[in-house]
């Protein structure tokens, strides 16, 4: 499977209720020597729509983009509805729709450095 197939795909819960779209994935990398593979520790799921897409693509989700103020005010509200889904809460990775557990909606802000 390729990253481009995962990013942007539909996310649904056990009862096929839409949760959002895969906007990004959090990957664990070693500082010193790289392992043979990077484990994907979770998915960043955001609502459909341009503002959410931009907020995640332009780095506002990680809080790395500190400005411009106008952009922040415009885009950060869209992140209210974004959530981080740990890998072990994902039942089916697709291809096609990604299925997650209902209690997989982990909003804890620091999870995966998601604001």
């Amino acid at each position: 499977m390729r990253a481009s197939e995962l990013i942007g795909s539909q996310v649904v819960d056990e009862r096929d209720r839409p949760v959002g779209l895969v906007r990004d994935m959090r990957v664990e990398v070693e500082g010193a020597d790289m392992p043979s593979a990077f484990p994907i520790i979770g998915l960043v799921v955001g609502p459909p729509g341009l503002r959410s897409a931009a907020a995640h693509a332009w780095g506002y989700a990680e809080g790395r983009a500190a400005g411009p103020a106008v952009f922040r005010r415009l885009l950060e509200p869209a992140l209210q509805h974004s959530l981080f889904v740990p890998a072990d809460h994902v039942l089916d990775w697709g291809p096609g729709a990604v299925r997650i557990r209902e209690n997989g909606r982990d909003r804890s802000s620091d999870a995966g450095g998601l604001r």
Binding site: E62, A65, A66, G67, P68, A69, F71
Partner: protein, 410 residues
């Protein structure tokens, strides 16, 4: 010594990039039709391009990558490709226009038809990009480009009625015989001619090739602070000379020769010759800049190796792109298509592309993790955002105005 190189980099970017065929045509046309009533546009353009070039330079110093190199990871491949194809087409047109500009300068000097000069100019360009080291190139055309200052001298020589000039410069409205549509069209054309994005990328790519480090930050800023206002001054000077000599008799500028004519009136033979040398240098420098930046854009999008510091065989895709561009531009110029018309169309199209090129630079310059303490401050963000918004307005107006005013001919 390094200081001198760095300074000429700034000057080259200012003269070759700021004053190129687009300005030589658009500024003279504007001056002849509206006097100094569009001088305020140059202020905005200078502020905007200074702001984004400084950002681009900072990004280049911090990340050792040209500004556009990080654009794709923000805009994604599709959006990025759209911007790439757009700027490829526009800058391609500009390469042709600049090349024709060189040929027209040679025609003015020899009265031999410019079409015969086009291949010669192309060969010239080829030899320079192939054989001359980056530094030599910069110093040569940076210094030669300074002869454009003759336009400033000409303004004083024509000893204008300063109150009139000030009055014209502070009026933001078309002259009696002109429509608002035409006025706005030339606002767009001037912005397109003066806020040339390739200038910004050439500036940052140059900074990378120079292997600048954070300690060179202020050197880079000096280039921006000296270079671009100098370019802006020259632009206004061209508008002023056209205003003082061509406005009264109601002459419409349709040729490069008419840009030089006021200098002849003011300073005679010597001045005219210096002006022709300046036009030659500016268009030649701009040909190199446009040629490089288009190839840089392509190489950066696909992640190819690029640059003057790479031996050609190491960057064969980059070199091939550049040669193809030069060949295409030469062929287009030889179709006898009117270079002045092409220039106006090109600058308007380039104005409509500005947002696509400014946005990623603004985003990357704000990335705290990448830029650390060199990330954008309040000032850069305020000016940058304002410029971006302005460029969005310009970009939406560009094509409707181009058609409505039939390219400013009505």
């Amino acid at each position: 010594m390094k200081q001198a190189f760095a300074f000429t980099l700034g000057t080259l970017s200012a003269i070759g990039g700021f004053i190129d065929i687009g300005d030589l045509v658009a500024d003279a046309q504007v001056g002849a039709r509206f006097g100094l009533r569009l001088a305020w546009v140059t202020l905005f353009s200078v502020a905007g391009i200074m702001c984004f070039s400084e950002m681009a330079g900072r990004i280049a110093i911090k990340t050792q990558r040209p500004a556009l190199a990080l654009a794709r990871s923000r805009l994604g491949p599709r959006f990025g490709l759209f911007g790439l194809i757009g700027s490829l087409l526009v800058t391609g047109l500009l390469v042709m226009a600049e090349l024709a500009g060189v040929a027209l300068a040679l025609q003015l000097a020899t009265s031999i038809n410019y079409l015969l000069w086009v291949p010669v100019a192309a060969l010239f360009v080829l030899i320079v990009v192939w054989r001359l080291p980056f530094e030599t190139m910069e110093r040569l055309y940076g210094v030669l480009g300074l002869t454009m200052l003759v336009f400033v001298v000409a303004v004083f020589q024509l000893d204008p009625n300063w109150p009139n000039m000030a009055q014209s410069a502070t009026t933001i409205a078309p002259t009696a015989s002109e429509s608002w549509a035409t006025y706005l069209f030339f606002v767009v054309a001037l912005i397109g001619a003066q806020m040339t994005p390739y200038e910004m990328f050439f500036f940052s790519s140059g900074a990378v090739d120079h292997r600048w480090r954070p300690r060179d930050l202020w050197e880079m800023r000096v280039n921006v602070i000296v270079g671009f206002p100098l370019g802006g001054l020259l632009a206004v000077a061209i508008q002023a000379t056209a205003f003082l000599v061509l406005f009264e008799p109601g002459i419409a500028v349709e040729h490069l020769s008419q840009t030089a004519l006021p200098v002849a009136v003011a300073l005679g033979k010597a001045g005219l010759i210096v002006a022709i040398v300046g036009i030659f240098a500016a268009t030649f420098g701009a040909t190199l800049e446009t040629l490089f930046s288009t190839s840089y854009d392509v190489a950066q999008y696909f992640g190819w190796s690029y640059g003057k510091l790479q031996p050609p065989a190491r960057a064969s895709r980059f070199v091939t792109t550049m040669l193809a561009m030069l060949f295409g531009a030469t062929a287009l110029a030889l179709t006898t298509i009117n270079p002045i018309t092409v220039t106006i169309v090109a600058v308007v199209c380039s104005a409509s592309l500005l947002p696509f090129l400014f946005l990623p630079v603004l985003l990357v310059a704000n990335d705290r993790e990448l830029m650390g303490e060199m990330a954008n401050g309040k000032l850069s963000n305020a000016v940058g955002t304002a410029t971006l918004v302005l460029s969005c307005v310009v970009s939406t107006l560009a094509f409707p105005l181009l058609i409505l005013t039939k390219g400013g001919t009505v």
